[in-house]
Structures are given as C-alpha cells and as structure tokens.
C-alpha cells in the first residue's frame, strides 16, 4: 500500500479546486502559500499511533444521508464524501483527513480504536494560504531579496514562528466529525 500517493491525491484535488477559484477571481486575488511545514508521512503518523500493527486500505464513500446525519450529530460540515481510511484486523482505524480553516489547511492522521475512542492525532502537514497582495511596504521590506509572491517553505526560510496563539478549533471540529463518522458508519464495518 502506498500511503504517500493516497495523500498526494487529496492535495491534488484541493489544488485543482483552488486553481478553478483562481481563474474566476482574476488577477486581483492571487492566493499563495505563505508557509508550509511537513511533519510526518501518513505511514509515519500511523506507526506513531498504532506501532507495527498491520493496516489495510479500507476506503469508504459516504452516502448523502450519512453525510447529512454526521453533519447533524457533529455540527460540522462534511466536505468530502470519500474517507481515506485504513483498518486493522482488530477493528482499529487510521483516518487521513484535511482540515480547512480560513487561511490554514492541515492534513491530519487520526487513530480510532474498536470502541470509538481516539487513540492519537498527528498533524502531517500544515499550510497557511493568503489571498491578498501585501500592500504594506514595511512588511514587504522584511522579505529582503525575496519576492513575497513566491512560495515559501518553512523549513528553509520561515521557522520558529511566534504570534498570538493560533486556535486549533478547526482540528477539534474535524476530530468530532470523525468520531461521529466512526459511530454512524465505520463501527459496523
């Protein structure tokens, strides 16, 4: 099983959607990745949560009524009907999901055990994207020798970020949505 290709499938779909938006928005609105950091591959995250336990891909497509019911129970929008899921012989699950905030796009891996309890959460990749042109010359000047429209990779250029606390509310919402997804859909599988 090639986990990496599964994951990049999510990213490609996301980028394609963003690309379509770009065409409609025209030149005034140019989304760009401000920074991104990769932490773990899906495989590494699964091993951190579940150790060497064997998992097999178990993709699930949610029906419309299921999506509606999960949304009602978790009070969280269900964006994707396809669940990128892996299952062990002991009914443990490992789910790959994407959390979409106003500016942040976070890939997460979540382990849920046979009783529906969250065993672990790992952030695989964190990206922040902004759709404005940087107007302020002083802030621009801090990017000396660097075009602010270029894609920045955190590991090389932007590290040790401080600022007032970022909320993890969107991740909490996603975990809530996934535990309800387990309860309503994955439990009997």
């Amino acid at each position: 099983m090639n986990y990496k290709s599964e994951n990049s499938g999510i990213n490609r779909r996301f980028l394609l959607r963003g690309g379509a938006g770009l065409l409609f928005a025209g030149l005034l609105f140019r989304p760009k990745v401000v920074w991104a950091k990769e932490y773990l591959t899906p495989d590494q995250a699964r091993k951190l949560i579940w150790g060497d336990k064997a998992f097999a891909a178990h993709p699930v497509t949610l029906t419309k009524p299921q999506m509606k019911s999960i949304k009602k129970a978790s009070k969280t929008r269900v964006r994707n009907k396809k669940l990128n899921a892996f299952k062990s012989a002991e009914n443990d699950w490992f789910l790959l999901d994407q959390v979409v905030g106003k500016h942040e796009f976070i890939d997460i891996g979540v382990g849920i055990d046979g009783l529906g309890k969250v065993k672990g959460i790992e952030i695989l990749e964190y990206r922040e994207t902004y759709g404005y042109e940087i107007a302020n010359p002083k802030w621009r000047a801090q990017f000396t020798g660097r075009d602010s429209s270029e894609h920045l990779k955190l590991d090389k250029q932007v590290k040790n970020i401080s600022g007032a606390t970022l909320s993890c509310r969107h991740i909490t919402d996603a975990i809530n949505r996934l535990t309800h997804t387990w309860d309503q859909v994955l439990k009997p599988l």
Binding site: V34, I123, Y132, A135, W139, S162, G163, T165
Partner: protein, 282 residues
C-alpha cells in the same frame, strides 16, 4: 543524527516539538511521547473548559473551603499572584466574568457580580482558598508553563540533545537559542501571513496580540473596565516560557512594564500594525 518533528492539537493550539539527537529512532519517538504526555498532564490540570480539571474543581469549591492542589498548580498560582502584586493588579487571573461576557471563555458558570480579585487568592501549604467567591482562568500562563514542564522533563531524560524546540502556538522555548532567529507574525489581520524576523534573546519567548485571533486572545483590562484595544503585538523574551507568556499581558496592561521585565531578566518587543519594531523600555 535523528530528527523528529511532530505537531499535535493541544492546549487549544498546535503544539510543535522538534528534537534532534544521536539516538535510535524508537528512543527519539519515546522522548517526543514523553514531552506530549507531560503537556497533556498539564492540560488536564489547568484547562478551564474541562469540568474534570483541577482548575475547575478550584473554581467550584475554593471559595467554600481550602482545596488541596498539585505542586504544578501551586507554582503557577504563586507566580500569577506575585505578578498581580508587582503590577498592582493590572495582571489578574480572576477576570473570568469579563471573559465569559465577551465570549473569550465559555459561559460555564452563572454570570455573577464578582467583587473579589487576585487579592482573594490565598495559598498555604499546598492548598488554595478564595476569601471571596472567585473564578480564575489560567489561559495566559498555563501554556507557557506546559512548554516549560515538557522542556524540563526532556532535559532530564536526555541532557545532551542536539536540538530541542517546543512551540505551543507561538509560546516557544529552545535549548540552543544563541544565534537563533524567530519569526513574529504581523499583528495586522490584513497582513497576518507576514513575518518579522528577529534574534532570539533568551531561551523562551511568547507573543500576544489582542486583535489577532478574535475571541481567543482577548486581554481584559479590569482597571480600565474594558478590553485591551491595542492593534499591536507584544513579544517577550525570558528565561522561561511561563514568564514570557505572562509578561506579554503585563506589558499591555501595566503602565511601567520595563521595571517588571527587568525584574525577571526579560525583554520586550512591540510590533505595530504598520510594521515598526520597538523595544519595550522605561
């Protein structure tokens, strides 16, 4: 050398741990698990939102009878009380009614006309007692303390790590901080994706900006009877992350912040919405 970089949603934010060490892979994983475990332990003690936390028990009972508390809680409350004393009450962890009214905290308690303040927090022999009914919130101190606790547990477990950085949503601590830089976000919501690069001046630093993330970072100015309205951000460099975390608020709220910073061996940096950097000085 083995590197491991993990990030988990904890303390209401994303907590990132970067470790490099000359050890086997399973050992570096065990070290990161130890650090995340310690952060979870502090979260379970000090969460305002969790009705099972030690803090919630204090908020329910400490005005009725003395409540036995953990060493961690005693340390944090002692420091909060000291800082309230030094800032003549400008820094006060009992601003819960104001935070609940503004949506900065969930309305877990009945709205009450609270007459008590930090002076009513009495600490003695591992117990806390409120001499008047009081609710306290550790939102501006527990995150820094949790970073310190995780950092110190790793420093004991493995004193010769090549690299250790723990960053809880911008409250961060580093092992080798000399010559390192840190990127501070623009406090202006319109340029939030921009960073100002500054030198690390101490092992720990934290940043607060009242306008930054909506209700999540409200700073209550009880003495003025309003919310802190500055559009700037304050970063504090300090020997520990708890000190850095709390002093960012003290700089906003207290009119003579330089003396407080000096007392704790800390220094402050104000970033304005226009992108200016100003040292906080007397």
């Amino acid at each position: 050398m083995k590197n491991l970089s993990r990030n988990q949603p904890l303390l209401g934010t994303c907590v990132e741990i970067d470790i490099s060490a000359e050890v086997a892979e399973h050992e570096i994983i065990a070290l990161s698990n130890l650090a995340f475990g310690e952060i979870r332990r502090i979260q379970a003690l000090m969460s305002f939102h969790d009705p099972e936390s030690e803090l919630s028990r204090i908020n329910r009972e400490a005005h009725l009878h003395p409540v036995e508390i953990s060493d961690d809680m005693e340390f944090v409350l002692q420091f909060a009380r000291l800082l309230s004393d030094l800032t003549k009450g400008a820094y006060d962890i009992s601003v819960v009614p104001e935070l609940m009214a503004q949506g900065g905290l969930p309305a877990l308690y009945e709205p009450h006309a609270q007459t008590g303040n930090w002076r009513d927090i009495r600490l003695s022999k591992g117990r806390v007692f409120f001499s008047r009914e009081l609710k306290i919130d550790l939102g501006g101190i527990a995150k820094g303390y949790a970073v310190d606790a995780a950092f110190e547990i790793l420093a004991v477990a493995m004193p010769d790590l090549d690299k250790l950085v723990i960053n809880a949503g911008g409250d961060l601590r580093m092992q080798q901080w000399h010559g390192e830089t840190v990127q501070i976000r623009s406090p202006d919501p319109r340029t939030r994706g921009e960073f100002s690069k500054v030198d690390m001046l101490a092992p720990a630093m934290a940043t607060s900006a009242p306008h930054y993330a909506g209700n999540a970072s409200l700073i209550v100015n009880r003495q003025a009877g309003c919310l802190e309205k500055s559009g700037d951000s304050i970063s504090v460099f300090a020997p520990s992350c708890m000190i850095a975390d709390t002093l960012t608020k003290a700089v906003f709220l207290y009119d003579a912040p330089a003396s407080i910073l000096a007392r704790f061996g800390a220094s402050g940096l104000r970033l304005t919405q226009g992108g200016d950097e100003m040292r906080v000085a007397a």
